[in-house]
């Protein structure tokens, strides 16, 4: 049942995104100053929102593990954080390619980019920490604690585009600005791409969670075999 759901989510997300490509390239208006490169926005912003949402939900599952002790919560937290990290890479790489043309540089140490890069490093550390601990309950407990610490930086990244006025553009979506900063058709496409990314992310999380379950089963059977 879960395998079917995974395939449906993956297929739906991919198809929805490819359907959006038609809108992105043929229907939506051009941006006056940037040329075709502005269309990276339809990957960059949805990837950013997906990764920050993922890290936050990962923290919630971490708290779930700490309160219930169920390893399924730990598997969910680890899977969600890992998939969110992939979208964080996508956000940073697409942003960098966009910046190369618009700002003339691949990277700058402005507060927003720095906060996002720090977030990336923190969650790479999270995965390294999980790899370094063999015992499952200890791994769950310590990585849950680390995930809670890491979420402080996620909040900083989310708010940084409001707090700091630097090279990186400020908020444009109506939910954050109250309206008037972006063409409604462009905003609608950002949300449609976000929906596609969330479907793909959900499918990847389910695949990853199944692998965590398999790893736990192997551990349990190994213990039985060597008892």
């Amino acid at each position: 049942m879960r395998d079917k759901l995974t395939y449906v989510l993956l297929a739906a997300g991919a198809l929805f995104f490819f359907f959006n490509l038609h809108g992105i390239f043929d229907v939506l208006p051009d941006e006056a100053a940037q040329g075709a490169i502005y269309r990276i926005m339809y990957l960059h912003i949805p990837a950013g929102i997906t990764c920050l949402t993922g890290f936050f939900i990962g923290m919630i599952f971490s708290i779930g593990y700490l309160t219930t002790g169920k390893l399924a919560f730990d598997a969910a937290s680890a899977s969600i954080n890992e998939v969110a990290l992939v979208f964080a890479f996508m956000n940073v790489v697409t942003g960098s390619i966009w910046a190369r043309i618009i700002w003339g540089i691949w990277w700058t140490w402005d507060p927003r980019l720095t906060a996002m890069f720090v977030c990336l490093l923190i969650y790479v550390g999270y995965l390294l920490l999980r790899q370094a601990i063999d015992e499952p309950t200890r791994r769950g407990r310590l990585s849950a604690a680390f995930s809670i610490f890491g979420t402080v930086d996620v909040v900083v990244v989310w708010k940084s585009i409001e707090w700091f006025r630097t090279q990186h553009p400020g908020p444009v979506l109506d939910v954050r600005t109250g309206g008037g900063h972006i063409d409604p058709a462009m905003q609608s496409m950002i949300f449609r791409d976000l929906f596609a990314f969330l479907l793909i992310a959900a499918a990847l999380v389910l695949i990853r969670m199944k692998q965590e379950e398999n790893a736990r089963e192997i551990d349990a059977l190994r213990r039985l075999a060597h008892a």
């Binding site: 700490l66 720095t114 906060a115 720090v118 490093l121 923190i122 550390g125 390294l128 920490l129 370094a132 601990i133 200890r138 407990r141 310590l142 849950a144 604690a145 680390f146 809670i148 610490f149 890491g150 402080v152 930086d153 900083v156």
Partner: protein
């Protein structure tokens, strides 16, 4: 005995042990001086350029030396199952973590004092232009570094490659604190006006991570 007095008694115990052997203080102090020496060879700087990079140079030096200090914090309790004895005692896990952080912070402040003195000589700089403001930055930033170091020292205590994992985990978390302290140190070393934004970052960092450390200490330490 309330939690704060428990933390102080842990700090007193650790300071007594440290002052007997001075192993953390000597190694961290020597390491800080070596880093300052290396940087003075690595960059051929004019007096103006030195002023611009002073904050970064000093805080990199303090954070690397700090790793030697708080690495010893919980590692000291591993032989003879001292950590298990401490956890079985009426002491709360939070007071253990905060006590270790207090010890590390005091030791790191001594290392910083030595480093400022050496820095003034190697780089021919007057660092006493705004001494009280500089002291305030050092105290708040050192507390932030040591509270994170203490919590993650406890977290990594039984890990494979503990000495490698600890820096890899804590330095990304410390970046906002280090940026704020570097900016403020640069301001005070060049005798410029106070910047409340960076002070706010420093204070919020300290408060948030101290609260998280107290809240999660039990989960990290107790099996």
């Amino acid at each position: 005995m309330n939690a704060f007095s428990q933390a102080l008694s842990i700090a007193r115990k650790d300071l007594a042990i440290e002052l007997r052997t001075k192993e953390s203080l000597n190694s961290a102090g020597a390491f800080a001086v070596v880093i300052l020496l290396l940087f003075s060879f690595a960059f051929d700087l004019s007096p103006e350029e030195t002023k611009d990079i002073s904050g970064g140079l000093l805080w990199l030096c303090f954070s690397f030396a700090g790793a030697l200090v708080f690495n010893r914090g919980f590692a000291r309790e591993m032989p003879n199952e001292c950590l298990d004895a401490l956890l079985s005692s009426p002491l709360s896990a939070a007071s253990l973590v905060i006590g270790k952080a207090i010890t590390s912070a005091l030791l790191l402040l001594v290392v910083e004092a030595i480093s400022f003195f050496v820095y003034g000589i190697f780089y021919d700089t007057n660092w006493l232009k705004q001494p009280w403001s500089l002291l305030a930055v050092c105290v708040f930033a050192t507390w932030g570094i040591c509270v994170i170091g203490s919590v993650f020292g406890a977290l990594t205590i039984n890990l494979r490659l503990r000495e490698l994992m600890l820096p890899v985990i804590i330095y990304p978390l410390l970046i906002p604190l280090l940026i704020a302290s570097i900016e403020m140190t640069n301001l005070f070393l060049t005798n410029q006006a106070f910047n409340f934004m960076w002070l706010r970052v420093l204070l919020v960092f300290d408060i948030v991570f101290t609260c998280l450390a107290v809240a999660l200490a039990e989960i990290i330490l107790v099996n």
